[in-house]
Symmetry: D2
Subunit: 355 residues, 4 copies
């Protein structure tokens, strides 16, 4: 950490900072300049984190120069992690497709959407039973009965599934049925929820907050890791910008940036970022090319009747293109697609029967 | 609502939209232009809200032109609301000061800070027992014992207090002791939390999300109102912008904009928006001048020892200026300060004894 | 400046930085930590500014800790500046109203608008002859003939005027007639324009770029100052945020922040920030309360016929309120209004006759 | 266009809008709802653009639903354009690499950098002679002598070059030597500059403003097109977001969005968007995969001595990877690289000799 003193700081003011740092076991290096004095703090960041140095007299700025996250850092574990979800996996060597309906509406629609997902190459299914909605008058999801529908469909198809949990009270119920728990963009800093999903020991898909910095996002993952659960996959889903032609702006740079900081897999969501069906395949190509470890995609058998986010869902005619596009760009990026590893075929059916 | 069709839309495509709208009880007015056809939808917004019109063929855009909120709208109740907290109140006629420590650290620090608050003109106390923090390694608040400290101090001083609740499981505990529940900026769209604080029937202080639009914020209030609880006060606390010299950018325009849309009181937080002690009094002046119904301010008896947000807290020497500044600008804005109504004196002591 | 080395940096890498800094006359203080080494650079910032330290091997970050601006800094001149425009002035002791039509449309409209401005308390007139417009198909202003209209009206009324110049080739023409040159938000980083308006020696009104940081804005002022012209007034006009209910978000905090960094006066534009007539007076109150040295306001005699920005202009019935509001909040802020100093009366008429 | 009336609007207020629209030759369709009346305006947008409908009494909102741009729209020309720069080209069928030094510093550095560019597959060279810099104390470019250096090097290598022009007065000089003129991010709305580069008839590379919306960017292209010059290439270079780990956030979605709106080619700048050398190749992969028509890349023979943006330049060891990466992902995207068309070999040498 670096403490920058104002030009008005006296030796006594500098001393005060040095004493406070020394008192908690840190060491200080003082660089006196003509206009400013800089104090370099050496030691463990957590020692200083609680010191209110900003409030000390004549302190101009306090700059953190080391990483605040530990367990998810690639300092702690240099080898990239692979997260296993049922017999599928998400990691640096493969590209994994997660797909399914945005919201579970009926058993029939869920089954059709999940079959589309499987045909498109998905080895993990997705579907929303609990939907966080801006308006209390909007469809809020089917809740536990939606969860049951998803569970039945996924078992029949023979693939694991991920679903969002929106409040701590539902964690136990969801964890009993789902193979992976999703924390959505609005809940990225719902710290109690992070702790409780962590404690289930299940794999967690953590979406980036809609205007979160990468550091805030990684710190949210650290909350999960702090419970002892390192089965975490990060998901970039677009950040809010001034551009109205897309729902959000997919931050593809976040993929290599996160991979250079942490050992966690990172996937992207081309459906919620663009919010437009015509952008889904281009953004998938872009994501795989930049190095994403997977994608999570909305599909719908009949988007004109969708209760949620219909305009962004892939439809039947897109399904062969989904499979082909992922395979082609994964090959260009020297990756294999998870379904090529057999996850979507007999092996996973075996898993389905066993579950 | 307005549906804009692409130039490629056929009469059949237009018909399809009209049929879907009519089927849910709406009425359509079709304006055919050279390049585009516009369909005006007339009826109740909730009828159309679930129609996935965006996903219909050759639909270019769907534009909502009426308000999505109802219960908190000044269409529903044209007269501004006054929210009562103990014997204090927040409303359009007065200016109310809420003050206290950002975090409850010790009984002594809490008592000193709350006495500073009272001396500065506060008629409602504030203090954080549960603190949502970006890092799992940062001080997370004292929890229930912090709540007890606050309760005792507030009773002794004879003023009501507001405190943040961060997760649904704590709502009952907090509601038993606090006079008003705060939902913080990170939880503005924690919908389950909104519902549960609403159901307590207690007054709620709802902070604006750090990058929320005014409509999203008002819709969050609508979630609370939907439980039957209209004792809601909105709090503008700065939005994230590209400016690094202030922690957030206080959006003073939000005050008159919200007052023109809803009947709810709206206050501002000069401490968390600027993040700098030297900005607190200027921002208070600005807020009262623009028409805010109150302010919520951090004070600390010893900011160099603060466990949270020390640099922004007002200190002892600021206290007389706080009282004087609020009084002066409230007068310029033709308002009285709540403490002038006696809320902070004998009357509220009476309340303190009775509580 | 502070250079943060990666944990992978060797002694040789550190040496390399130290040598480069020493070579340009700087001094280094090296703080070796367990995970990181921090190098504090002491000396004149301009020495280091061109060193590409970020590109040195194993450098993680380069953090500037001192101000990059000099001439406009209050380090260079602690006493706040007062900028004189004709016989009017803008400075820390008074509050100055600048008003007039957004665009000069006709002699009649300009005369009526400027009379409204004078009646509302303006001691400097404003009007646009050259309008930067997003669309090439929108009204681009009357150009030089608009300038002549403004000049004649201002001379008759007896007040100085400010007008925008949008390209270097027009600077000489505009400077011959106008009393103050405005650089608009889109041109804040049009560096050639900044230099040329600076070289005229005339007072300059520099608007903040629509997403500029305060530092970028102050650096733009430094470009003007660098030509030897310190007659600069900064104008905050709202920054772009995610909020659609206002055209921009007025950043009132920028006023005290800029006043703590520079000696330049700073005013605010309530018309272009809110973009709504109903917000103009509330934002004026807010600006004066926070400490602004003036306001610049659109007025229009007939906004339904305005060629530009009609919805935000004050109309006849607002004029007495404008004058009264400024006077009332200036008094609360312990300021006098420029018109109370006689700038808008006989004295300035004397100026008008002499011009 | 759609005009939304407030619930308070009378028949007279509605009539007033209809009359104003009819007076300029438009047609109105009125949809009266319970709470709101919507007026659909049919006709040419430019008819209504100057009507200040927002300022009419009881108008709540005015919503534009058709495109404000014409000449660059794919309504005007459905077939994608190919822009020729010397013997190279930028268009929908190929992928073109533009590369060279960020700034021209010395003849030697420029030559080495341009040779690196050619070896990396560039068929158009780039280099900055005029540099817009935030600080007046930073290196501002060599100006005309830099232009001469670039011209000589490009002629020797036998490739055309693009260079930035920052002010109208330099347009003629730059156009005499350069093969393509660049308008930088800070000048995207420098309308006089847009007109003057347009009038040269030379190809123009138009960078997106750092916080511009896609519509504002396309409207800036419309300014150039309006001069009769349609040789325009758009360049996405990252937008400002809250993420500090990258200099800007590359908006890859902008590529397919722009391609769906206009017939202009669109390329991306991986160097200035990320600001980090380690992100350049990943972002190139991402850009080509999403469908960009080319990339513009910084290279430097000795980044530790670069006077500008050293940390983001590719270095010698990256050059083979640049060529290989572009070829591989262009193939995956069913494109050829411009150099495969012979532009960088004998044919372009012929061009070099002839120039």
């Amino acid at each position: 950490m670096v403490v920058v003193m104002r030009s008005t700081a006296t030796d006594g003011d500098i001393e005060r900072v040095v004493d406070a740092v020394t008192a908690v076991g840190g060491e200080c290096f003082v660089s006196k300049g003509r206009n400013q004095t800089i104090i370099g703090l050496v030691g463990d960041l957590t020692q200083f984190a609680e010191l209110p140095l900003h409030a000390f007299p004549h302190v101009e700025d306090v700059i953190r120069v080391s990483r605040a996250f530990k367990l998810v850092s690639n300092d702690a574990q240099p080898r990239p992690s692979t997260v296993e979800v049922g017999r599928s996996r998400i990691g640096r060597d493969s590209v994994t497709i997660i797909a399914g309906p945005c919201a579970v509406e009926t058993p029939e629609q869920t089954r059709l959407a999940c079959e589309m997902a499987r045909d498109g190459g998905a080895t993990i299914l997705r579907g929303g039973a609990y939907k966080p909605r801006t308006s209390p008058y909007a469809f809020q999801g089917l809740g536990e009965s939606g969860l049951d529908i998803l569970h039945d469909v996924a078992r029949d198809i023979g693939l694991p599934f991920v679903t969002e949990v929106v409040t701590p009270a539902d964690v136990e119920t969801v964890a009993r049925k789902a193979d992976m728990l999703q924390v959505g963009t609005r809940n990225m800093q719902n710290f109690q929820l992070l702790k409780e999903v962590g404690l289930t020991g299940k794999p967690v898909l953590l979406k980036r907050g809609m205007t979160a910095t990468i550091e805030e996002w990684v710190m949210a993952a650290e909350y999960i890791a702090h419970t002892g659960n390192l089965q975490i996959v990060l998901c970039e889903r677009g950040v809010r910008t001034f551009e109205p032609m897309t729902r959000n702006t997919l931050d593809v740079s976040a993929v290599p940036v996160v991979q250079a900081l942490t050992h966690l897999p990172v996937i992207i969501d081309p459906s919620h970022s663009g919010g437009r069906r015509d952008l889904v395949l281009p953004l998938i190509r872009s994501a795989i090319a930049v190095g994403a470890d997977g994608v999570i995609v909305d599909v719908h058998p009949d988007p004109e009747r969708a209760l949620c986010d219909g305009p962004q869902a892939l439809v039947h005619e897109d399904i062969p293109k989904l499979r082909e596009t992922v395979a082609r760009f994964a090959a260009a990026a020297d990756r294999v697609v998870d379904f090529e590893l057999g996850a979507g075929s007999s092996r996973s059916q075996g898993w389905g029967q066993g579950a």
